[in-house]
């Protein structure tokens, strides 16, 4: 599948969701694996729009590319927003607490990391790149 380039706005989330579900179907992922991949990419795309672009008073695109081989499906998500370290949100030590006592931030990154087999973030030449890898189940 070709790349997808959409504006870095919340309106783009549904288009991205459809793009991911299409490639997940092409890769033969089962229903739950496809859902978790969509969730992972959607959570990160949402964070990029809100924190990388809107809150930083920046504008830019979200660029998605895919690589499909026999072993796995890889999604690359790139943006030119303010950089941040997703890892800083990934430790969820309060998941057992009653909802009244929870800090709600960071759940999206947690779900993204849980939802795929490999998750990777890098910042280079003013761009951010998130990489999501899902193993293809043998048929």
């Amino acid at each position: 599948m070709g790349p997808l380039i959409v504006p870095g706005t919340l309106d783009s989330l549904s288009v991205i969701g459809k793009y991911i579900m299409d490639i997940a179907a092409k890769a033969g992922l089962d229903k739950k694996a496809a859902y978790r991949l969509r969730l992972a990419v959607d959570e990160i795309a949402t964070n990029i729009v809100i924190h990388g672009y809107d809150e930083a008073n920046r504008q830019g695109d979200l660029e998605l590319r895919t690589e499909l081989n026999e072993a796995d499906l890889t999604i690359f998500l790139e943006d030119t927003g303010a950089s941040y370290t997703p890892g800083q949100f990934s430790d969820r030590t309060d998941l057992h607490l009653p909802l009244e006592e929870r800090q709600i931030g960071g759940l999206g990154v947690y779900l993204a990391m849980q939802g795929v087999d490999k998750f990777h973030y890098e910042h280079f030449e003013g761009r951010n790149r998130h990489t999501f890898v899902v193993n293809r189940t043998p048929t």
Binding site: D11, S14, L39, L99, L107, L111
Partner: protein, 110 residues
């Protein structure tokens, strides 16, 4: 996403159709929160929602806090398996009252 709100047997039924994501969750929340008055009985029907991100969890958390603060009752029905998985992974599932169907949900609020 579309929201339909109706009242059945003094229960406020909030029926959402479509995806609940970073775009639509704040819109849904703005519609729903003003309905959660003191002593209210609210049923959120999710049977026509195929996808929900953490933005939806945040919406559910706000609903939970407001109904609890108002001595109201909140019940969720029609959650897909995938949405239940997300709620389970984040420890949300146990804090909500859940029924499989709208019929069961209404019966339990009587």
């Amino acid at each position: 996403m579309e929201i339909m709100i109706k009242t059945i047997d003094q229960v406020t039924v909030v029926d959402i159709t479509g995806d609940i994501d970073g775009k639509t969750a704040p819109e849904a929340q703005a519609h729903i929160l003003p309905l959660l008055e003191p002593g209210c009985k609210v049923m959120l029907d999710m049977s026509r929602v195929d996808y929900m991100s953490s933005a939806g969890l945040r919406m559910m958390l706000s609903m939970h806090r407001q109904t609890a603060g108002n001595q109201g009752q909140l019940i969720l029905v029609g959650l897909s398996e995938e949405i239940q998985d997300t709620m389970s992974a984040t420890g949300f599932l146990n804090f909500f009252t859940i029924q499989d169907t709208a019929e069961a949900g209404l019966a339990s609020l009587k």
